[in-house]
Subunit: 349 residues, 2 copies
Amino acid sequence: MLATVIHAAHDIRVEEVPDPVLSTGGDAIVRVVAACVCGSDLWPYRGVTPTNEPHRIGHEFVGVVEAVGPDVELVKEGDFVIAPFYVCDGTCLNCRNGVSTSCLGGGWWGSDDRLGGFADGGQGERVRVPLADGTLAVVPGPVAPEEIPGLLTLSDVMGTGWHAAVSAGVRSGESVAVVGDGAVGLCAIIAAKRLGATTIIAMSRHPQRQALARRFGATHIVEERGDAGVDAVRELTDGIGADRVLECVGTKESMDQALRSTRPGGMVGYVGVPNGGPELPIRSMFSRNVGVNGGVAPVRGYIEELLPDVRSGAIEPGLVFDLELPLTEAAEAYAAMDERRATKVLLRP
Amino acid sequence: MLATVIHAAHDIRVEEVPDPVLSTGGDAIVRVVAACVCGSDLWPYRGVTPTNEPHRIGHEFVGVVEAVGPDVELVKEGDFVIAPFYVCDGTCLNCRNGVSTSCLGGGWWGSDDRLGGFADGGQGERVRVPLADGTLAVVPGPVAPEEIPGLLTLSDVMGTGWHAAVSAGVRSGESVAVVGDGAVGLCAIIAAKRLGATTIIAMSRHPQRQALARRFGATHIVEERGDAGVDAVRELTDGIGADRVLECVGTKESMDQALRSTRPGGMVGYVGVPNGGPELPIRSMFSRNVGVNGGVAPVRGYIEELLPDVRSGAIEPGLVFDLELPLTEAAEAYAAMDERRATKVLLRP
């Protein structure tokens, strides 16, 4: 079959690789219908994470189950499924606590060989899915083609934006500022609105993303950053800062922006993968009672809750995809995201 | 009148100072019935915070109102009152949001001269209280002498322990570990129990404090620290760590202990004044979804909620006082706390 392989920074190729096979009794084989390029895939692409030898890449996909192992009970051949960006059993204590990203039996696509060997992550024609009962969410059929982009966001960006808002504790009537206008930040706006926020401030300088932010529920746009950005947020929030701020970037600057834009007693919900390891300034957090909550989003647990709204069109996260390419053009997909010509790319095998 | 004055590290004197007078229309003059020495008073005592010139000290007291300014409406002569460790108006946006420590019009005892001049902080015979309507909580009379220690804890330590538990989001049936067995840590145990925690782990090596922790509701004692402490907490919590951890010390080591003792998806509630400015390790927090919330405790807002339980004896925070001295022996009170001969000292003018 065909799959995407990264050979080195800026060297993405689509190559013939062995078909996946059932390896453990809990496995499923899924034919990929659509996959994404994730912002975090750009780290090896840009060389921020070194690529020592060629390896498969990708971790967001939806597809149709082609085969299941003998121990699989919840997923069956022919099911349309959403896979989160990690593997989980759904039954351990951490999964039951809603933190399936810390699953005691799970792992990561493409980087874990405990679960019956290497498991590819989605930018290909087929995937072996370990712990299929815990990992995969079944979408009751039939699934219309136009539903695919929205469903695909539940594999990562919509659930991640939702996690930012849930972690920040967004409640009805509150003010929310969102730092970051990538796919996750845009989904965080959807999440804030869904949780009832009435003032939603998108921090964005990009006209098209601003427009999408407005469509998703942003009531205000702030283009300024740094001190001017903090001042602008405060002006929109009675001078004290937003009740909740959703940090969807992961840099030292974006976290600083988020912390300072939060009102005393407010909370930052953060999902931006910390890049370069900025530490959090505890003294200023302490003096203002600004909390920080979030992390790598346990999106698997959010799929069932968000699915009806995605299918009904009540929320439209699929609009974050502004470029669609065949799998064979994965290299162009990476380049488009790297050069910011696209917010989020959908790949079809 | 007599009041405590710090002259230099380890040099505490009780001296004759001018009587306070009403300065603004919103002031009250309160005759102090009882005052505390706070753990944070030990910072200048130990020379950690330099004392450049002699100044008054103290910020926790209860007393009886002797006079009020013409603008005071809620507090009247003869009222028994509890003063929090800061001054607040009770009406600004931050106060209404429950964060009166960030009051837009308030300030700190002994360090703020915006509010009608210097306002002493309680280790003396009388205090001028600015913003009396916002700052003071009235205790409906009569107040029995044996009630004094319990009421006095509402000026700081009980409200601070409560803030740790509320900030961590402690809920019924959860597991809670408390780092720190000082007066605040002990009150945090009371708070965790009051919020319904069913497993309460006190991290303490001090036999008398362990006994008090048990009386307050601790179900387990962990004497180990560091890796062994983390392991011990995990052993008591199905191997994953406590749902909530209350950090009541403020050092780098205690925060590290707290973060690592928290289960994935759990929350650290912290109220220990950060000492030496440890920053928070965002990458490990991110990967495990461990949040951090808390800060300088807005205790004024908690007094009304906790007061009935203190008066009924349902909670007994007054037991944290293990030494009582006349004001004139304030120097001995500081020495006893500094040398850990006392957990918390009550001073009576």
